[in-house]
Amino acid sequence: MIIDATNKYYKQLNEEIKHTQTHDITVKNVLGQRYIGTGVKDKKMTVYGTPGNAMGAYLDNIDIEVFGNVQDAVGDTMNDGHIVVHGKAGDTLGYAMRGGSIYVKGDAGYRVGIHMKAYQDKQPVIVVGGCVGSFLGEYQAGGTILVLGLGSQDSSPIGNYCGTGMHGGNMYIRSAVKPEFLPPQVSIELCDSKDMAVIQPLIDQFCEYFDIKEDILRDKPYYHIFPNADNPYKSLYTSY
């Protein structure tokens, strides 16, 4: 099923998507329509153009592949499914995401993966091929964030204040230099072979999605950022 999004308001477009009977849907000429994939179940969507904000919000068991850039709040509170973006992503990518995966070929904006969390077999993953802005993984409670930093050359691919309030999960950063300006709640170490074994499947998947040769991801070290404590606020208060 092919849907042409030209001159369609998001409400109309999403209504059409929801009422499509076929499992595979291709949406063409998308230009800023919001909430694509929200409230839809068990579909595989291919999107051409530039989807608007909150694509895949509360996403559940849907695969969305986007040929183009995506805007802000993609995968907000996503529960399951896979989002693959052949382009760049805006701010708050994967906010409070609980399951599934988001792969972005290029850069992503500020506040990526804030409050990402895991639950039982739900282990969310965000992989960003390029660089990300500040505030990556704030309040992260679970899951995995991998930033590959393609195009970052000799500088760190993450902005400032990464991991403030982090109390679970893991971040991995491929970087020529050790990322600085991290808050006291987190520790950073060079990845050992055990860490590499964890992220290798993600790297493989990234290379497969975007048809990238893995060699170019081997020239820089990977850093592992993880929380110092599971309960960072425990000693902050005295109750009476």
């Binding site: 509360y58 409670a141 009476y240």
Partner: protein
Amino acid sequence: MGIQYLYPEFEVHRNFDRCIKCRVCERQCSEQVHYYDEEDDIMRADESKCVDCQRCVTMCPTRALKIVKTENTFRPNENWHQNTIEEIYRQATTGGALLSSMGNPKDYPSYWDRILLNASQVTNPSIDPLREPMETRVFLGKKPHDLEFDSHGELISKLPPQIELEVPVMFSAMSFGAISENAHKSLARAATACGTCYNTGEGGLNKSLYPYGPNTIVQVASGRFGVHEDYLKAGCAIEIKMGQGAKPGIGGHLPGRKIGPKVAETRMIPEGSDAISPAPHHDIYSIEDLRQLVYSLKEATNYEKPVIVKIAAVHNVAAIASGIARSGADIIAIDGFRGGTGAAPTRIRDNVGIPIELALAAVDQRLRDEKIRNDISIVVGGSIRSSADVVKAIALGADACYIGTAALIALGCHLCRQCSRGLCNWGIATQREDLCRRLNPDIGTEHLVNLLTAWNNEIKEMMGGMGINSIEALRGNRLMLRGVGMTEKELEILGIKHAGE
């Protein structure tokens, strides 16, 4: 350890003539105040642990116990009150920010207590609710500007989604985790029995409570705990929590020790991990961003559920409410500075926010002035203590009220304000299994139903006295209100006259 400066606040008075050493007090006290001294064959108490929850007093079969505020005082000082000094001792020994529970206990003015209701005399006769129909049903949601009917008089216009309430009082947001499963069950069942709603708070909704969905408001807050599509569709409305009266401007934190298997399952987070709700939603920095979240929720639920935006009553509340009304939200919930909480930093709880009475009056007036009042319903909470407060709130412009503390009191809460410790002896604010069992959900439900039934009857009586027979006719009817002992400015903000005028 250095010197312990803090003297116990309460004394346990035991009448030894009455005490039969049955040790009920000992078994009932989760704070471990009471103990049996075998050597002397006598019950003793460690008063330093007593929080005055009144559990032992209530359970003592011979009424041998009472808890009394200690007469021991520091040298009286009108500037440095004893508790001010003790708070400094506490911080000096721990280095921690002070953490408290329940609502602001300070001596700020309660405007409800300075507002008086009208009644009919001679002209415009009063109505006896026993013999006349009285309408306490309300609909919350956007009201259309005009309606279209076909030639048979049937409505053609598609109405925006509404919450239908038989009584203008709902149970406000309290999460499973902050309160016990039995407390949640009681609220859910009572809301269903009374035709009103309870609110999940930011703790998700356990599948076992899905049957109460038509009377459930599901909350989405900054931590998005337990939020997924089925959850959003499970309730009758979705509430976006931007703020809370007890702690405006800050987030929440359920400590890992309260996250047992069932709480973890409901919040969809691992057992024992902290549940942190950041202060802001990090994807909402503007009204436009809020609109984005409102509509993402509507998209996810096919525009079938009204969306509530809950904020704390703060200084600029009228302008914020105006923005919320334009964000596409169907209902705004405003929580006054006296609103309760499972835990809040004391300084925030006691010093931030404004009284709900003033906030409500300002918001209602602003929305009327801007001609957008019908685009949004107003729900207020933050210390609604009686049906009189409800009537006054509605006359000031509210569509309905939220009660939290009052509901917990109906479940047995004695306001000892120790919720954050998780040792609630009444089985309400705890996850400890033996304590949870103390709250029987059947009895809890019955008490809540009784409370709402009583309030609803009182509301009808008060309305009848004013010659008003529906909430619709009471809403925003400020002529029914008069102030006593207020300044002109206060009366101006409340939009009411002084008594005698």
